[in-house]
Symmetry: C2
Subunit: 229 residues, 2 copies
Protein backbone atom coordinates (compact mmCIF):
# COMPACT_ATOMS: atom_id res chain seq x y z
CA UNK A 1 0.00 0.00 0.00
CA UNK A 2 1.53 3.23 -1.15
CA UNK A 3 1.66 6.31 1.00
CA UNK A 4 -0.55 8.25 -1.44
CA UNK A 5 -3.26 5.63 -1.11
CA UNK A 6 -2.96 5.67 2.65
CA UNK A 7 -3.48 9.42 2.63
CA UNK A 8 -6.69 9.02 0.61
CA UNK A 9 -8.10 6.72 3.26
CA UNK A 10 -6.85 8.87 6.09
CA UNK A 11 -8.71 11.84 4.64
CA UNK A 12 -12.10 10.15 4.99
CA UNK A 13 -14.19 11.82 7.72
CA UNK A 14 -14.42 8.51 9.54
CA UNK A 15 -10.64 8.36 10.06
CA UNK A 16 -9.51 11.96 9.82
CA UNK A 17 -9.57 12.57 13.58
CA UNK A 18 -7.91 9.35 14.69
CA UNK A 19 -4.65 9.38 16.54
CA UNK A 20 -1.83 8.40 14.20
CA UNK A 21 -0.85 5.43 16.35
CA UNK A 22 -4.41 4.08 16.38
CA UNK A 23 -4.73 4.55 12.65
CA UNK A 24 -1.52 2.65 11.99
CA UNK A 25 -2.52 -0.13 14.40
CA UNK A 26 -5.86 -0.45 12.67
CA UNK A 27 -4.19 -0.93 9.29
CA UNK A 28 -2.13 -3.86 10.57
CA UNK A 29 -3.24 -6.97 8.73
CA UNK A 30 -5.24 -5.03 6.19
CA UNK A 31 -4.47 -5.10 2.49
CA UNK A 32 -5.23 -3.23 -0.67
CA UNK A 33 -6.31 -5.39 -3.55
CA UNK A 34 -7.55 -4.96 -7.11
CA UNK A 35 -10.47 -7.08 -8.29
CA UNK A 36 -11.73 -7.53 -11.84
CA UNK A 37 -15.33 -6.67 -12.74
CA UNK A 38 -18.23 -8.95 -11.76
CA UNK A 39 -16.45 -10.52 -8.81
CA UNK A 40 -18.47 -11.37 -5.71
CA UNK A 41 -16.54 -9.98 -2.74
CA UNK A 42 -18.66 -11.60 -0.06
CA UNK A 43 -22.09 -13.08 0.46
CA UNK A 44 -24.72 -11.70 2.83
CA UNK A 45 -24.61 -14.72 5.12
CA UNK A 46 -20.82 -14.67 5.51
CA UNK A 47 -19.41 -13.59 8.82
CA UNK A 48 -17.95 -10.11 8.59
CA UNK A 49 -14.19 -10.42 8.30
CA UNK A 50 -13.34 -7.00 6.92
CA UNK A 51 -14.41 -3.43 6.72
CA UNK A 52 -14.16 -2.53 3.03
CA UNK A 53 -13.10 0.76 1.53
CA UNK A 54 -13.63 1.31 -2.15
CA UNK A 55 -10.63 3.29 -3.36
CA UNK A 56 -11.33 3.03 -7.07
CA UNK A 57 -14.00 1.42 -9.26
CA UNK A 58 -17.63 0.64 -8.54
CA UNK A 59 -19.29 -1.83 -6.19
CA UNK A 60 -22.88 -3.02 -5.91
CA UNK A 61 -24.38 -4.18 -2.63
CA UNK A 62 -27.25 -6.58 -3.27
CA UNK A 63 -29.41 -9.10 -1.48
CA UNK A 64 -31.16 -12.34 -2.34
CA UNK A 65 -34.28 -14.08 -1.04
CA UNK A 66 -37.05 -16.29 -2.41
CA UNK A 67 -35.13 -16.82 -5.62
CA UNK A 68 -35.06 -13.09 -6.31
CA UNK A 69 -32.24 -10.58 -6.19
CA UNK A 70 -32.16 -6.84 -5.78
CA UNK A 71 -29.66 -4.02 -5.58
CA UNK A 72 -29.47 -2.41 -2.15
CA UNK A 73 -27.10 0.42 -3.03
CA UNK A 74 -24.20 1.39 -5.23
CA UNK A 75 -20.84 2.39 -3.79
CA UNK A 76 -18.67 5.00 -5.43
CA UNK A 77 -15.08 5.83 -4.44
CA UNK A 78 -13.84 6.82 -1.98
CA UNK A 79 -16.19 5.32 0.61
CA UNK A 80 -16.38 2.63 3.25
CA UNK A 81 -19.05 -0.05 3.16
CA UNK A 82 -20.45 -2.62 5.61
CA UNK A 83 -19.30 -0.52 8.56
CA UNK A 84 -22.29 -1.58 10.67
CA UNK A 85 -21.52 -5.26 10.10
CA UNK A 86 -17.86 -4.80 10.92
CA UNK A 87 -18.77 -3.18 14.22
CA UNK A 88 -21.13 -5.83 15.56
CA UNK A 89 -19.40 -9.10 14.64
CA UNK A 90 -22.14 -10.87 12.69
CA UNK A 91 -23.12 -11.60 9.10
CA UNK A 92 -22.58 -9.02 6.36
CA UNK A 93 -26.38 -8.84 5.74
CA UNK A 94 -25.73 -7.79 2.15
CA UNK A 95 -23.70 -9.31 -0.65
CA UNK A 96 -21.20 -7.31 -2.70
CA UNK A 97 -19.89 -7.55 -6.21
CA UNK A 98 -17.66 -5.36 -8.31
CA UNK A 99 -19.33 -3.73 -11.30
CA UNK A 100 -16.05 -2.56 -12.79
CA UNK A 101 -12.44 -3.33 -12.03
CA UNK A 102 -12.03 -2.04 -8.48
CA UNK A 103 -9.35 -1.33 -5.94
CA UNK A 104 -10.45 -2.13 -2.41
CA UNK A 105 -8.81 -1.74 0.98
CA UNK A 106 -9.82 -4.44 3.42
CA UNK A 107 -9.35 -3.84 7.13
CA UNK A 108 -9.92 -6.72 9.57
CA UNK A 109 -13.24 -6.15 11.36
CA UNK A 110 -11.58 -7.00 14.64
CA UNK A 111 -9.27 -4.01 14.17
CA UNK A 112 -12.29 -1.75 13.68
CA UNK A 113 -13.85 -2.90 16.93
CA UNK A 114 -10.57 -2.39 18.76
CA UNK A 115 -10.20 1.07 17.26
CA UNK A 116 -13.69 2.02 18.35
CA UNK A 117 -12.85 1.16 21.94
CA UNK A 118 -9.43 2.76 21.82
CA UNK A 119 -10.03 5.96 19.92
CA UNK A 120 -12.66 8.45 21.13
CA UNK A 121 -12.78 10.41 17.94
CA UNK A 122 -13.22 7.31 15.84
CA UNK A 123 -16.11 6.19 18.03
CA UNK A 124 -17.81 9.56 17.56
CA UNK A 125 -17.24 9.56 13.82
CA UNK A 126 -18.56 6.02 13.63
CA UNK A 127 -21.75 7.20 15.34
CA UNK A 128 -22.18 9.97 12.79
CA UNK A 129 -21.38 7.70 9.86
CA UNK A 130 -23.80 5.03 11.06
CA UNK A 131 -26.56 7.57 11.61
CA UNK A 132 -25.97 8.79 8.08
CA UNK A 133 -26.08 5.24 6.68
CA UNK A 134 -29.23 4.59 8.68
CA UNK A 135 -31.00 7.58 7.16
CA UNK A 136 -29.79 6.47 3.75
CA UNK A 137 -31.58 3.15 4.07
CA UNK A 138 -34.64 4.86 5.54
CA UNK A 139 -34.76 7.04 2.44
CA UNK A 140 -34.44 4.02 0.17
CA UNK A 141 -37.18 2.27 2.11
CA UNK A 142 -39.53 5.24 1.83
CA UNK A 143 -38.68 5.53 -1.85
CA UNK A 144 -39.72 2.01 -2.69
CA UNK A 145 -42.67 1.90 -0.33
CA UNK A 146 -44.31 5.20 -1.25
CA UNK A 147 -43.53 5.65 -4.94
CA UNK A 148 -44.22 3.82 -8.17
CA UNK A 149 -41.43 2.77 -10.52
CA UNK A 150 -41.99 5.72 -12.84
CA UNK A 151 -41.90 8.14 -9.91
CA UNK A 152 -38.66 6.62 -8.64
CA UNK A 153 -37.08 6.97 -12.06
CA UNK A 154 -38.28 10.58 -12.40
CA UNK A 155 -36.80 11.49 -9.02
CA UNK A 156 -33.58 9.69 -9.84
CA UNK A 157 -33.24 11.70 -13.04
CA UNK A 158 -33.91 14.96 -11.20
CA UNK A 159 -31.25 14.16 -8.61
CA UNK A 160 -28.69 13.23 -11.27
CA UNK A 161 -29.57 16.38 -13.16
CA UNK A 162 -28.84 18.55 -10.15
CA UNK A 163 -25.67 16.63 -9.27
CA UNK A 164 -24.20 16.74 -12.75
CA UNK A 165 -25.24 20.35 -13.24
CA UNK A 166 -25.20 20.40 -17.01
CA UNK A 167 -27.93 20.48 -19.64
CA UNK A 168 -27.86 16.78 -20.43
CA UNK A 169 -27.03 14.12 -17.87
CA UNK A 170 -25.23 10.84 -18.33
CA UNK A 171 -26.32 7.70 -16.51
CA UNK A 172 -23.40 6.61 -14.30
CA UNK A 173 -24.37 2.93 -14.52
CA UNK A 174 -25.76 0.48 -17.04
CA UNK A 175 -29.51 0.62 -17.43
CA UNK A 176 -29.90 -2.93 -16.14
CA UNK A 177 -28.13 -1.89 -12.92
CA UNK A 178 -30.23 1.25 -12.66
CA UNK A 179 -33.34 -0.88 -13.04
CA UNK A 180 -32.29 -3.14 -10.20
CA UNK A 181 -31.52 -0.13 -8.02
CA UNK A 182 -34.96 1.30 -8.74
CA UNK A 183 -36.49 -2.06 -7.94
CA UNK A 184 -37.89 -2.79 -11.39
CA UNK A 185 -36.93 -5.02 -14.32
CA UNK A 186 -34.86 -3.74 -17.25
CA UNK A 187 -37.92 -4.15 -19.49
CA UNK A 188 -39.98 -1.91 -17.26
CA UNK A 189 -37.23 0.66 -16.99
CA UNK A 190 -37.34 0.94 -20.75
CA UNK A 191 -41.12 1.42 -20.57
CA UNK A 192 -40.75 3.91 -17.73
CA UNK A 193 -38.52 6.04 -19.97
CA UNK A 194 -41.23 5.90 -22.63
CA UNK A 195 -43.80 6.98 -20.05
CA UNK A 196 -41.64 9.99 -19.22
CA UNK A 197 -41.29 11.08 -22.84
CA UNK A 198 -44.36 13.40 -22.59
CA UNK A 199 -42.62 15.02 -19.62
CA UNK A 200 -39.69 16.15 -21.71
CA UNK A 201 -37.33 13.23 -21.07
CA UNK A 202 -35.27 12.49 -24.18
CA UNK A 203 -33.16 9.34 -24.08
CA UNK A 204 -30.17 8.61 -26.28
CA UNK A 205 -28.30 5.63 -24.90
CA UNK A 206 -26.85 6.67 -21.57
CA UNK A 207 -27.41 10.37 -22.32
CA UNK A 208 -30.61 11.90 -20.99
CA UNK A 209 -32.08 15.30 -21.76
CA UNK A 210 -34.57 16.87 -19.40
CA UNK A 211 -36.41 19.46 -21.46
CA UNK A 212 -39.26 20.19 -19.06
CA UNK A 213 -38.11 20.11 -15.45
CA UNK A 214 -41.35 21.69 -14.18
CA UNK A 215 -43.59 18.97 -15.58
CA UNK A 216 -41.20 16.25 -14.50
CA UNK A 217 -41.19 17.61 -10.97
CA UNK A 218 -44.95 17.78 -10.85
CA UNK A 219 -44.99 14.07 -11.64
CA UNK A 220 -42.07 13.12 -9.39
CA UNK A 221 -43.03 15.24 -6.38
CA UNK A 222 -39.43 15.26 -5.11
CA UNK A 223 -38.92 15.33 -1.35
CA UNK A 224 -35.89 16.55 0.53
CA UNK A 225 -36.45 13.70 2.97
CA UNK A 226 -36.06 11.03 0.31
CA UNK A 227 -33.93 12.38 -2.50
CA UNK A 228 -30.34 13.02 -1.54
CA UNK A 229 -29.03 16.01 -3.37
Amino acid sequence: MRDSEKQIVRALPLFSGMLEANFEAMLAGSFLQRFPATVVLFSESDLTDFLHILVDGQVELFASANNREGTMTLIKPVATFVLASALVDGAYQMSARTLTSSQILMIPAENIRVAMLADRDFAHKAVLELASCYHGVVRAYKNIKLRTGVERLANYLLVQHRRQGGDTLTLPVEKRTLASMLGITPENLSRAFSTLKPYGVKVDGPKIDLQNIKDLESLAKPSELIDTL
Copy 2:
Protein backbone atom coordinates in the same frame (compact mmCIF):
# COMPACT_ATOMS: atom_id res chain seq x y z
CA MET B 1 -40.55 11.13 37.04
CA ARG B 2 -40.56 8.43 39.68
CA ASP B 3 -37.48 6.54 40.66
CA SER B 4 -38.96 3.24 39.46
CA GLU B 5 -39.45 4.68 35.98
CA LYS B 6 -35.95 6.07 35.99
CA GLN B 7 -34.62 2.61 36.78
CA ILE B 8 -36.48 1.15 33.82
CA VAL B 9 -34.75 3.59 31.48
CA ARG B 10 -31.41 3.14 33.18
CA ALA B 11 -31.62 -0.60 32.55
CA LEU B 12 -31.72 -0.17 28.76
CA PRO B 13 -28.49 -1.42 27.16
CA LEU B 14 -27.95 2.02 25.68
CA PHE B 15 -27.68 3.65 29.12
CA SER B 16 -26.70 0.81 31.43
CA GLY B 17 -22.98 1.55 31.28
CA MET B 18 -23.14 5.33 31.64
CA LEU B 19 -21.57 7.08 34.57
CA GLU B 20 -24.25 8.09 37.04
CA ALA B 21 -23.33 11.76 36.79
CA ASN B 22 -23.60 11.72 33.00
CA PHE B 23 -26.90 9.90 33.14
CA GLU B 24 -28.34 12.45 35.55
CA ALA B 25 -27.03 15.34 33.49
CA MET B 26 -28.59 13.86 30.39
CA LEU B 27 -32.01 13.70 32.05
CA ALA B 28 -31.94 17.41 32.88
CA GLY B 29 -34.70 19.11 30.94
CA SER B 30 -36.30 15.83 29.92
CA PHE B 31 -39.82 14.87 30.89
CA LEU B 32 -42.07 11.88 31.08
CA GLN B 33 -45.47 12.40 29.56
CA ARG B 34 -48.59 10.37 28.85
CA PHE B 35 -50.31 10.78 25.48
CA PRO B 36 -53.72 9.50 24.42
CA ALA B 37 -54.09 7.21 21.41
CA THR B 38 -53.83 8.52 17.83
CA VAL B 39 -51.71 11.54 18.74
CA VAL B 40 -49.01 12.64 16.31
CA LEU B 41 -45.82 13.12 18.34
CA PHE B 42 -43.79 14.73 15.59
CA SER B 43 -43.66 14.99 11.83
CA GLU B 44 -40.84 13.70 9.64
CA SER B 45 -39.76 17.15 8.52
CA ASP B 46 -39.57 18.57 12.07
CA LEU B 47 -36.16 19.28 13.50
CA THR B 48 -35.21 16.68 16.08
CA ASP B 49 -35.76 18.16 19.53
CA PHE B 50 -35.92 15.00 21.58
CA LEU B 51 -34.79 11.44 21.83
CA HIS B 52 -37.93 9.47 22.67
CA ILE B 53 -38.22 6.46 24.91
CA LEU B 54 -41.46 4.52 24.88
CA VAL B 55 -42.03 3.40 28.47
CA ASP B 56 -45.55 2.10 28.02
CA GLY B 57 -48.04 1.83 25.15
CA GLN B 58 -47.46 1.49 21.43
CA VAL B 59 -46.06 3.88 18.84
CA GLU B 60 -46.04 3.77 15.06
CA LEU B 61 -43.30 5.39 12.98
CA PHE B 62 -44.61 6.25 9.54
CA ALA B 63 -43.71 8.30 6.49
CA SER B 64 -45.57 10.19 3.81
CA ALA B 65 -44.81 11.05 0.19
CA ASN B 66 -46.71 11.52 -3.07
CA ASN B 67 -50.01 11.56 -1.19
CA ARG B 68 -49.34 8.11 0.22
CA GLU B 69 -48.49 6.97 3.71
CA GLY B 70 -46.78 3.88 5.04
CA THR B 71 -45.74 2.37 8.34
CA MET B 72 -42.00 2.24 8.79
CA THR B 73 -41.92 0.28 12.04
CA LEU B 74 -43.78 -0.29 15.28
CA ILE B 75 -42.25 0.51 18.64
CA LYS B 76 -42.96 -1.58 21.70
CA PRO B 77 -41.92 -0.72 25.27
CA VAL B 78 -39.33 -0.30 26.56
CA ALA B 79 -37.35 1.08 23.63
CA THR B 80 -35.79 4.27 22.32
CA PHE B 81 -36.68 5.65 18.93
CA VAL B 82 -35.23 8.24 16.55
CA LEU B 83 -31.78 7.84 18.11
CA ALA B 84 -30.04 8.46 14.79
CA SER B 85 -31.92 11.73 14.27
CA ALA B 86 -31.17 12.89 17.81
CA LEU B 87 -27.46 12.30 17.24
CA VAL B 88 -27.04 14.25 14.01
CA ASP B 89 -29.15 17.38 14.57
CA GLY B 90 -31.45 17.30 11.57
CA ALA B 91 -35.01 16.34 10.69
CA TYR B 92 -36.70 13.34 12.30
CA GLN B 93 -37.01 11.65 8.84
CA MET B 94 -40.03 9.71 10.11
CA SER B 95 -43.29 10.77 11.70
CA ALA B 96 -44.63 9.19 14.89
CA ARG B 97 -48.07 8.66 16.32
CA THR B 98 -49.38 6.79 19.33
CA LEU B 99 -51.52 3.75 18.56
CA THR B 100 -52.65 3.36 22.15
CA SER B 101 -52.37 5.56 25.20
CA SER B 102 -48.63 5.79 25.76
CA GLN B 103 -46.13 6.98 28.29
CA ILE B 104 -43.06 8.53 26.71
CA LEU B 105 -39.83 9.92 28.12
CA MET B 106 -38.44 12.76 26.04
CA ILE B 107 -34.78 13.70 26.40
CA PRO B 108 -33.49 16.85 24.68
CA ALA B 109 -31.47 15.82 21.64
CA GLU B 110 -28.77 18.27 22.64
CA ASN B 111 -28.26 16.31 25.87
CA ILE B 112 -27.78 13.13 23.85
CA ARG B 113 -25.08 14.71 21.73
CA VAL B 114 -23.35 16.04 24.82
CA ALA B 115 -23.55 12.64 26.48
CA MET B 116 -22.02 10.98 23.44
CA LEU B 117 -19.01 13.27 23.66
CA ALA B 118 -18.73 13.03 27.43
CA ASP B 119 -19.35 9.36 28.11
CA ARG B 120 -17.21 6.70 26.40
CA ASP B 121 -19.50 3.83 27.22
CA PHE B 122 -22.53 5.67 25.90
CA ALA B 123 -20.74 6.39 22.63
CA HIS B 124 -19.90 2.71 22.24
CA LYS B 125 -23.42 1.60 23.08
CA ALA B 126 -24.79 4.17 20.64
CA VAL B 127 -22.61 2.62 17.93
CA LEU B 128 -24.01 -0.83 18.68
CA GLU B 129 -27.58 0.42 18.88
CA LEU B 130 -27.27 2.32 15.60
CA ALA B 131 -25.73 -0.67 13.86
CA SER B 132 -28.64 -2.75 15.10
CA CYS B 133 -31.20 -0.18 13.89
CA TYR B 134 -29.40 -0.03 10.57
CA HIS B 135 -29.68 -3.76 10.07
CA GLY B 136 -33.31 -3.56 11.10
CA VAL B 137 -34.11 -1.18 8.24
CA VAL B 138 -31.99 -3.25 5.86
CA ARG B 139 -34.10 -6.26 6.75
CA ALA B 140 -37.31 -4.30 6.19
CA TYR B 141 -35.96 -3.08 2.86
CA LYS B 142 -35.07 -6.60 1.73
CA ASN B 143 -38.44 -7.82 2.92
CA ILE B 144 -40.42 -5.41 0.79
CA LYS B 145 -38.11 -5.55 -2.20
CA LEU B 146 -37.72 -9.31 -2.50
CA ARG B 147 -41.04 -10.71 -1.32
CA THR B 148 -44.69 -10.48 -2.34
CA GLY B 149 -47.39 -9.38 0.07
CA VAL B 150 -48.49 -12.95 0.80
CA GLU B 151 -44.90 -14.00 1.49
CA ARG B 152 -44.41 -11.09 3.87
CA LEU B 153 -47.56 -12.01 5.75
CA ALA B 154 -46.55 -15.68 5.94
CA ASN B 155 -43.15 -14.77 7.34
CA TYR B 156 -44.70 -12.34 9.79
CA LEU B 157 -46.99 -15.07 11.08
CA LEU B 158 -44.10 -17.50 11.45
CA VAL B 159 -42.10 -14.95 13.43
CA GLN B 160 -45.03 -14.16 15.71
CA HIS B 161 -45.65 -17.87 16.17
CA ARG B 162 -42.10 -18.42 17.35
CA ARG B 163 -42.13 -15.34 19.56
CA GLN B 164 -45.41 -16.11 21.26
CA GLY B 165 -44.52 -19.77 21.61
CA GLY B 166 -48.05 -21.12 21.97
CA ASP B 167 -50.34 -23.07 19.66
CA THR B 168 -52.38 -20.13 18.48
CA LEU B 169 -50.99 -16.64 18.11
CA THR B 170 -52.68 -13.31 18.68
CA LEU B 171 -52.02 -10.35 16.41
CA PRO B 172 -50.48 -7.61 18.56
CA VAL B 173 -51.94 -4.85 16.40
CA GLU B 174 -55.09 -4.10 14.43
CA LYS B 175 -55.19 -5.68 11.00
CA ARG B 176 -55.23 -2.28 9.31
CA THR B 177 -51.95 -1.44 11.07
CA LEU B 178 -50.50 -4.83 10.17
CA ALA B 179 -51.43 -4.20 6.55
CA SER B 180 -49.63 -0.87 6.52
CA MET B 181 -46.58 -2.47 8.10
CA LEU B 182 -46.59 -5.18 5.43
CA GLY B 183 -46.94 -2.52 2.75
CA ILE B 184 -50.36 -3.58 1.46
CA THR B 185 -53.92 -2.32 1.82
CA PRO B 186 -56.31 -3.72 4.47
CA GLU B 187 -58.39 -5.24 1.68
CA ASN B 188 -55.43 -7.15 0.32
CA LEU B 189 -54.38 -8.29 3.78
CA SER B 190 -57.78 -9.89 4.08
CA ARG B 191 -57.27 -11.60 0.75
CA ALA B 192 -53.75 -12.63 1.70
CA PHE B 193 -55.19 -14.46 4.72
CA SER B 194 -57.59 -16.25 2.37
CA THR B 195 -54.68 -17.21 0.15
CA LEU B 196 -52.95 -18.75 3.15
CA LYS B 197 -55.97 -20.85 4.15
CA PRO B 198 -54.76 -23.86 2.10
CA TYR B 199 -51.50 -23.59 4.03
CA GLY B 200 -53.20 -24.25 7.36
CA VAL B 201 -53.75 -20.66 8.46
CA LYS B 202 -57.02 -20.37 10.37
CA VAL B 203 -58.15 -16.85 11.22
CA ASP B 204 -60.63 -15.93 13.94
CA GLY B 205 -60.50 -12.19 14.53
CA PRO B 206 -57.07 -11.39 15.97
CA LYS B 207 -56.43 -15.07 16.82
CA ILE B 208 -54.48 -17.08 14.27
CA ASP B 209 -53.92 -20.82 14.17
CA LEU B 210 -51.03 -22.23 12.18
CA GLN B 211 -51.95 -25.86 11.55
CA ASN B 212 -49.32 -26.68 8.97
CA ILE B 213 -46.03 -24.94 9.71
CA LYS B 214 -44.12 -27.03 7.14
CA ASP B 215 -46.28 -25.97 4.20
CA LEU B 216 -46.36 -22.38 5.38
CA GLU B 217 -42.58 -22.32 5.59
CA SER B 218 -42.21 -23.79 2.12
CA LEU B 219 -44.27 -20.85 0.85
CA ALA B 220 -42.66 -18.20 3.05
CA LYS B 221 -39.05 -19.33 2.65
CA PRO B 222 -38.01 -17.63 5.91
CA SER B 223 -34.50 -16.23 6.08
CA GLU B 224 -32.46 -15.57 9.18
CA LEU B 225 -31.16 -12.45 7.47
CA ILE B 226 -34.61 -10.92 7.11
CA ASP B 227 -36.88 -12.31 9.79
CA THR B 228 -35.94 -11.22 13.28
CA LEU B 229 -36.67 -14.00 15.70
